[in-house]
């Protein structure tokens, strides 16, 4: 058959989020690919120019709805760095706790979508069931299950409920048992291995050259994690390891994320044991306007390196915020990962980089 372009079009059950993937196929083999994005563009950066700094916090949640805590943290951290204020210790611990819970929840949703794409409908629902536990945790703290509006410039919105630490530890114990079940279900399933090993190979060198970050990069053997290389908040006081795999394929990325969930459990246990009992949760020394200047801050999102570049002109509204989204860059590496594989591998590869259109299109 001649070469033809196929549209795995914007209306498609497989694409998580709204984007268009055009692949050029020769029979069943993909020769080239072209992702087309922009269907979910909501003009975040322009809207931010006409909102005051506190008003932007709930809007920054909506950048990636799958991991909204980490995006609002990125924004709040950027502003705080520019304002050069100190955050109370308890607030830092609460923030790291929320970030890690959000990381687990985001990875669980990824796992559910990935296994569901590949055809195991039961593995679509088991991680979602566990994610409910973490969403319950977040709901008890913030009141909302998905878009939290919890981070504030200078701290967090409200204190944790009483006994939250104990509850969190119980949830983690339960969760780690369930993780063993997921690994049995997927690791030891030959069909799953057939679908993901050797598929979507992206070598470490190419990944670094393309600017890929996050679990996609760590699955290609490159040991980069912003929480260790450029630590922010209290990450330099916590003990955890970076999860790296050498395989460079979809299987490696899957293993990286599963191991990251376990590392997050470890971090959470440390945070619970070290959290100060009493303390302020919102700094009282937050100025209304940041000083004139510009700053770029990056954090480790569940999908990679999220960054915000803020230009302030001294008023109470930002002059310009530029959002650097990890998924935008990872998606540009997709054609490299897709070349040479079959059309039937497209869900496996696209799923393994954890597509979230909210932050790609902003």
């Amino acid at each position: 058959m001649a070469e033809m372009w196929i549209n795995l079009g914007p209306q498609h059950p497989m694409t998580h989020g709204l984007w268009d993937l055009r692949v050029k196929v020769d029979g069943e083999t993909i020769i080239d690919a072209e992702p087309k994005i922009g269907y979910l563009h909501r003009c975040h950066e322009k809207i931010y120019e006409s909102r005051t700094y506190p008003q932007i916090v709930p809007l920054s949640d909506r950048l990636c709805y799958g991991s909204s805590m980490s995006w609002s943290y990125t924004y709040v951290h950027t502003v705080e760095e520019l304002m050069r204020i100190d955050i109370p210790e308890k607030a830092e611990y609460i923030r790291v706790m929320m970030l890690e819970i959000q990381r687990i929840a985001s990875h669980l949703m990824w796992l559910a979508a990935y296994a569901g794409d590949l055809g195991i409908y039961s593995m679509l629902l088991y991680p979602m069931r566990e994610r409910e536990l973490f969403q319950d945790l977040l709901q008890s703290v913030t009141g909302n299950r998905l878009l939290y509006n919890y981070m504030r410039i200078g701290g967090v919105r409200n204190d944790l409920p009483d006994g939250f630490g104990n509850y969190l530890l119980k949830v983690l114990d339960w969760f780690e048992e369930r993780m063993d079940e997921y690994e049995e279900m997927l690791d030891e399933s030959e069909i799953f291995r057939m679908r993901t090993r050797g598929i979507g190979i992206l070598s470490g060198e190419k990944a670094v050259n393309l600017g890929v970050t996050g679990p996609t990069l760590r699955g290609s053997g490159v040991c980069v994690d912003l929480r260790k290389d450029d630590p922010y908040s209290i990450y330099d006081e916590l003990e955890f390891s970076i999860c790296v795999e050498d395989g460079c394929d979809c299987w490696a990325r899957y293993r990286v994320r599963v191991r990251e969930m376990r590392e997050s459990c470890r971090i959470l246990r440390q945070v619970v044991s070290r959290m100060p009992e009493n303390g302020e949760i919102l700094s009282k020394k937050v100025p209304r306007n940041p000083p004139k200047g510009e700053i770029f801050v990056r954090t480790e999102d569940p999908r990679g390196e999220a960054g915000m570049y803020l230009v302030s002109d001294g008023t109470n509204r930002p002059y310009r915020i530029k959002i650097k989204s990890p998924m935008f860059v990872n998606m540009s590496a997709l054609p490299e990962m897709l070349r040479g594989y079959k059309v039937a591998d497209v869900p496996a590869i696209c799923g393994s980089i954890d597509v979230c259109m909210g932050e790609t299109d902003r």
């Binding site: 569901g116 319950d136 009141g143 070598s203």
Partner: protein
């Protein structure tokens, strides 16, 4: 008595009764031409060919009805069982326990429009699914459900082959449907489907050759009859004698029926519905229906060939002298079919999809050689051990089990992953899977879930009152203790609602903070009867509101708050704009939220710029700014006024205690005299 004779007896009885009635009527009328005509018609109807025809037609209709109802039960069974494997409940709403769900689906599809896309090949598009549906149901002509269940007068001698011949029409018709749909994806789906089905027919047939050799016949009734020996109480079914054949048949049947793990042709993740994409309405409904009919046929064949068909205990009973054997056999048959189908659903819940080239590789590289080995082994054992006795059975079973164990634990050499940058298609050898890891662990995990209480929350009957109820999770004692400890009291959790906004109108001071802080600008201000016209109260547009809670957080008096009311839907968008009266409805749901004390920003005046317009003082909601005479002001605060500028009559004085940091004064000042300051300031004059 066979089924045919049974139906014939009924038809003859009905016709005789009708005939007697008509005869009586005709004799009463007593009109010669009518009598003659009635006699002639009666002669034709009661003649042998006519009764045969009526019997066969009635038999077909009866069988069709039984299949229809059975399919609805099978669909219900699949949905419920599948749901249990993923820890859910399946349909529960329509009918008791969801029994009428599929009828509801059918009615829904019936009511949809039958669309024929524009450039399809019209006749092929319309006729191919009809033949597909027809052949799928025609298979049941040759599948006996119990002793003596022939639709014709006697058993079909080549029964098994006829079933497969009719079954094999499907790939051809699927391909035509996919091609005729004028859709790239349907075409690809049709090609994949046809390839898969044609390839898997070969292992399907090869796996049955062993059974045929053992039973010495192609007729399905005789194959079931050959399984009636027993070894003590253990019935010697062909499952024991041909375990390898049974496994092969099951795998190939799952692939023929296009179920997971072999359902890539219709994988939703890629091709929406594959070759069925362009069909809609009842056409689509009937095609989906026949998928289950084929599944029923496949499971029945497995039961007949390997599980002893309709044999089971209690076959010898009789009631009032009538032999109940066939009816009991029918019951056993259906029980066994449902068990086999349950195993198919279990397999569906546990495995991912196999890619099309891997699928074909499994067929040609693994299943086909295994089928041939099975035949070879069977022939060897038959020749070496003669007589159909105990030794026969044991010999077979041992041989096949040994072979299967060998296959489960032996794997071919593992090829290293191809180097980076090379294509993995065309010519590179990939390793074939080992059966052991393929089946055991995932099946075990899903089986464990079958015995747990479902984790589904039946909204709105059970709403989430606590973060966990024990209905959520498996009810082992250990777990129940974990979640019933009552770590939080319920009130503590729900301080932080994110539902509808409520308003306490009496406490509102009209500072305007909520409207100013809302990121989406969903709060506007309107007059409220009984209040001063200038003291407006907020009105919220819930169509725009994102329930972020900023208004509740910034309100200085706590008169606007988020409640636990989440059901706000309306049919008209304008109904979503809640005025202050409607917002006051939620007054009783005010939660006890504890926000931390925020740093207060107090205004400060660059007093030399002030023109004395008095706007700040008039607009201040709490009266923290009062205007005093400028001469007194200058004296009090010791300011030197530049005499070249006109000195205003009065200047604003600020009392910090009443200020709520709403920022109204800074917003309304025409000369931008006022700035809201850093929290360390005390406000007031900025000299």
């Amino acid at each position: 008595m066979t089924f045919y004779e049974f139906i014939r007896g009924i038809i003859v009885a009905i016709l005789t009764w009708l005939g007697d009635g008509v005869t009586w009527i005709v004799l009463q009328i007593n009109w010669q031409p009518l009598t003659g005509f009635a006699g002639w018609v009666g002669g034709i109807i009661m003649s042998e060919p006519s009764i045969n025809l009526l019997t066969i037609l009635s038999g077909i209709i009866t069988v069709f009805l039984i299949i229809f109802i059975n399919l609805i039960m099978m669909m219900w069974f699949e949905l419920k069982l599948f749901a249990r494997f993923y820890h859910g409940r399946g349909p529960t709403e329509v009918g008791y326990a969801g029994l009428l769900q599929n009828i509801a689906h059918g009615i829904k599809l019936f009511m949809k429009e039958l669309i024929i896309p524009k450039k399809v090949d019209k006749w092929a598009y319309l006729i191919a699914p009809i033949i597909y549906i027809g052949t799928s149901f025609a298979v049941f002509v040759a599948i006996p459900w119990t002793e003596g269940f022939y639709l014709g007068r006697k058993d079909l001698a080549g029964g098994f082959l006829i079933v497969f011949a009719i079954f094999s029409m499907a790939p051809f018709l699927i391909f035509i449907s996919g091609w005729a749909s004028n859709n790239k994806f349907s075409l690809i789906g049709g090609i994949r489907s046809a390839t898969q089905m044609i390839s898997y027919e070969i292992p399907l047939l090869l796996s049955v050759v062993g059974v045929i050799l053992l039973a010495h016949s192609l007729s399905l009734t005789e194959i079931v009859g050959a399984q009636s020996q027993t070894l003590g109480i253990l019935p010697v079914w062909f499952l024991l004698l041909q375990p390898l054949g049974a496994l092969l048949f099951f795998t190939a049947a799952v692939a023929e029926l296009e179920r997971i793990p072999f359902d890539l042709p219709e994988a939703e993740a890629e091709l929406v519905e594959g070759w069925k994409t362009e069909y809609g309405g009842l056409r689509f409904g009937l095609i989906m229906f026949t998928e289950w009919a084929r599944a029923f046929a496949g499971c029945s064949l497995f039961v007949l060939l390997f599980l002893g068909g309709w044999q089971g205990p209690l076959m010898e009973t009789s009631l009032f002298g009538m032999d109940l054997g066939p009816i009991i056999g029918l019951v056993w048959f259906f029980i066994k079919v449902y068990i086999v189908f349950g195993v198919m659903v279990w397999v569906r819940a546990s495995f991912p999809r196999v890619r099309i080239d891997q699928l074909l590789r499994v067929c040609w590289n693994t299943l086909l050689p295994l089928g041939l080995i099975n035949i070879f082994l069977t022939v060897m054992v038959i020749t070496l051990l003669s007589g159909f006795g105990v030794t026969y059975a044991i010999g077979f079973a041992l041989g096949s089990f040994f072979l299967m164990v060998l296959l489960l634990f032996v794997r071919p050499e593992v090829e290293p992953l191809p180097p980076e940058g090379t294509l993995t298609s065309g010519g590179k050898k990939e390793r074939t899977p080992a059966l052991r890891t393929l089946v055991l662990k995932p099946l075990w995990v899903t089986m464990k879930h079958l015995f747990r209480r479902p984790a589904t929350l039946m909204y709105p009957y059970e709403t989430l009152k606590k973060p966990h109820t024990t209905a959520y999770y498996p009810v082992t004692k250990k777990i129940a203790r974990v979640y019933e400890d009552g770590v939080f009291g319920v009130p503590d959790i729900w301080r932080n609602y994110r539902g509808a906004i409520g308003l306490d109108v009496d406490a509102c001071i009209s500072c305007g903070l909520c409207g100013r802080i809302c990121p989406n600008r969903c709060i506007t201000y309107v007059e409220f009867p009984g209040r001063d016209k200038n003291k407006k109260v907020p009105r919220v547009d819930f169509g725009v509101c994102m329930f972020c809670g900023l208004c509740a957080e910034y309100c200085p008096k706590g008169c606007i708050f988020l409640t636990s009311e989440y059901d706000l839907s309306a049919f008209d968008r304008n109904d979503l704009i809640y005025g202050p009266e409607k917002l006051s409805m939620f007054r009783g749901l005010k939660p006890e939220t504890r926000f931390p004390e925020r740093a207060r920003e107090l205004p400060s005046w660059e007093i030399s710029k002030c023109i004395g317009c008095q706007l700040c003082s008039r607009r201040c909601p709490t009266g923290a700014i009062t205007m005093i005479d400028s001469a007194i002001y200058i004296e009090k605060y010791g300011i030197t006024w530049d005499e070249t500028k006109k000195r205003p009559k009065s200047l604003p004085e600020f009392t910090g205690d009443k200020c709520v940091s709403c920022g109204t004064c800074a917003e309304v000042c025409p000369r931008r005299v006022i700035t809201m300051d850093t929290p360390d300031s005390k406000g007031g004059i900025d000299k």
